[in-house]
Amino acid sequence: MITVTLVAVLVCMALLVARAISGTSVFERVLAINSFGTKTVLLIALHGFLTGRPDFLDLALVYALMNFVGTIAVLRFTSYGQLVAFGSRRTDGTEPMPPARPTGDATG
């Protein structure tokens, strides 16, 4: 049953790669890559149990941490234009987060 679940996770990862390639905006690609990272964690854990070496769970834990930090970093970069914003007020007087626009150009 571990093998079946491993194949299912691989199928899901293939579908997510298709979503990331055919995505129309940066947010869709981030969505697909975030889900891909979660599936990677599951894949590593399943592979460790399949080969009888559960020590791979340490790698899965590190992948989970990296996936979360990477997603938040990309989203901060697309929202704020910079990775680190000290405090809520910028030095150039602009708002830390741009107001919502009804129709946007968030493609690419």
């Binding site: 079946v4 869709e28 889900s35 599951l42 697309t78 929202s79 946007g104």
Partner: protein, 123 residues
């Protein structure tokens, strides 16, 4: 006892496999971006829960393995909704329009939804 535990683990892993495949199909095929965020959020919390609990049944009661599985499960259950929320918020503040599906349904209800106005005959 061990056979019962492996049976329960097999059932949990099978359910996790079904959830994972359906989640992938839904992320690929849902009509709008925000519905895809919803599908991914549900998938990312339910699939690790089922699969890691199923793997814990195969751990033979080893304490270190169980602790690591619990750590991974706790971290994923904490961070996956946060990632989905941050993604939807960033997309909304970044100008990705909502209500696309409703608009599409309205256009289809009014007939010939995707026709351009320039296609009208002159006479």
């Amino acid at each position: 006892m061990t056979e019962l535990l492996e049976l329960v683990g097999g059932v949990l892993l099978g359910a996790g496999a079904v959830v994972v495949v359906f989640g992938g199909v839904l992320i690929l095929r849902m009509p709008t971006f925000y519905s895809r965020v919803h599908a991914a959020s549900v998938n990312e919390t339910l699939a690790p829960l089922l699969i890691l609990l199923g793997l814990a049944c195969f751990a033979d009661g080893r304490f270190d393995v169980l602790v690591r599985l619990g750590l991974i499960l706790m971290f994923l259950l904490l961070t996956s909704p946060m990632s989905s929320h941050a993604l939807a918020k960033a997309a909304y503040r970044g100008g990705l329009p909502t209500g696309q599906y409703r608009e599409q349904q309205r256009r289809e209800r009014e007939g010939r939804g995707h026709s351009e106005p320039s296609e009208e005959p002159d006479a």
